[in-house]
Amino acid sequence: MAVQETRLALRNMGKIDPMSIDDYIAQGGYEALAKARQMDRDELISEVENASKLRGRGGAGFNTGFKWSGAKASEGDQKFIVCNADEGEPGTFKDRVILENDPHTVLEGMLIAAYAVGATEAIVYCRGEYEHQIALLRHAVEQAEEHGLTGDVHMHVFSGAGSYVCGEETALLNSIEGQRAEPRLKPPYPTVAGAFGKPTVVNNVETFANVPVIVGKGAAWYAGIGAAEYPGTKVFSISGDVKNPGCYEVATDASLNDVIELAGGVTEGHKIKAVQLGGSSCGYIKGSELDQSVDFDSLRRNGKSLGSGAVLVLNETHNLVDQVQQIVHFLGHESCGKCTPCREGLCQAGVILDRFAAGKGTQADLDMLQALHDLMATDCFCALGQGALTAFVSAYEIFPEDFRERMVN
């Protein structure tokens, strides 16, 4: 029996007009906010942290409530809630789909978080390319204010302007402050010193979208869905060689095969060679090994990452050298240039992979790529550089023949 979608973050998709707060309210919207505001703050945080075990849907899988309790405990005359809507991971479009279908669920999640930690400033930082979604968000903020729902919280929507590294939370905070988006040294973590040096919670769009459901239906109900340690659902962005690319939301105990089946499976007449799960900084999974659970921890135990939930399906016609070449040029372009291993490492890796793409790779080139990976994984300042050659290492491990095919004899 094929798995069905379980829609929590996307529960209102297709049911409401994203421009209408009345539609959202008619579906029970903002009831969770009212309920949360009747609760004791520590009790509310404990519900999210310990009972629901909600973990960040941006990619790191960090316990959401733990961030909230950290920010609540930090000293500060002002506190910030920031929604990371800087969705730039190649193959990822779930946050866009959530925002364009249901902007209010994200705002409601943020307002609940603001109440929990005692924040008076709430900022959505959305990638600049999502102009339509930014307009929807700004409209939604106005409506929430008119309905008196924002209370003492000032809500703002900030546009990015084309920078992938802003997805890294401290780079994003620098961008909010009007700086170049270079990541900061951690600690201090944002919960101690974030936006403008104030205690700040940074959560992903999908994470906030789940919060009203958890508060509304209760953490115990939520924790009963999906995998025990990574409960709830995950929204997958499926693209590449499948029949019906799009976003699909499933309980976290579904398998990768289930998710691909929801998207109609591989395109007619082909078979799946590999799937890149999680985005460009993540590894590949062989087409024959897709019968594994999509939950964060099972994947990690198998040496894979869930990442953003991007599922890029590749059929047998692709040589992974070309994929890795694209990824390395993408990351090279998006490297902020702050640290040398990332800036220079990606430049060199790009030169080498161009040689492979032209059929002129050598064994020395492979050794150099491996050495660059080992260096960058430990010495780069942030995750962009640290994971930049993960896709190469994985591709070479699983499909060495793709690289041999592109080497000089």
């Binding site: 600049g128 084309g162 920078s163 992938y164 009007g178 700086q179 403008f196 962005s237 902020c336």
Partner: protein, 144 residues
């Protein structure tokens, strides 16, 4: 500090720049100075920030800017075929401007519409699930 924070909190530096860019196509020196005045940042600092971001144009743009998404999804679904056809039609290679200054061809990093790959952006307008035979029409439309 708190005064600066409040004003920066109302509207971001990037939003201020993008607003002006939407109005007249790029961010001029006067714009930079105005943003500096509004935010209390020195103009050099505003330049430092704005020059980091690929959507900000600090020079007058060409007539038609064609950007081909090189996210892995678009690449997988034939983005490079589109790029080669665009290069041929525009008469310039990626990263360059055509000899008559009409076209500029460039990559854009993943734009988050992967389900309709391959995608391109022409003068800020998104075209989805593009096939090579649609390109002459799209480019002609953009020069009007």
């Amino acid at each position: 500090m708190s005064g600066t924070m409040q004003s920066s909190c109302d509207q971001g530096v990037l939003d201020r720049a993008l607003e002006r860019q939407r109005d007249h196509g790029w961010v001029t020196e006067d714009d930079v100075c105005a943003i500096a005045d509004e935010t209390g940042m020195p103009p050099s600092k505003v330049y430092e920030t704005l020059s980091f971001y690929s959507m900000i144009h600090l020079a007058k743009p060409v007539t038609v800017k064609v950007q081909v998404c090189r996210g892995t999804s678009c690449y997988t679904r034939g983005g490079m075929n589109l790029l080669h056809e665009i290069e041929r039609l525009c008469g310039c290679a990626v990263g360059e401007t055509s000899p008559d200054g009409t076209y500029q061809v460039d990559y854009v990093e993943c734009i988050g519409h992967c389900e309709t790959a391959p995608n391109i952006i022409v003068n800020g307008v998104l075209y989805q699930a593009v096939t090579p035979d649609q390109l002459p029409g799209i480019l002609k439309e953009a020069t009007r």
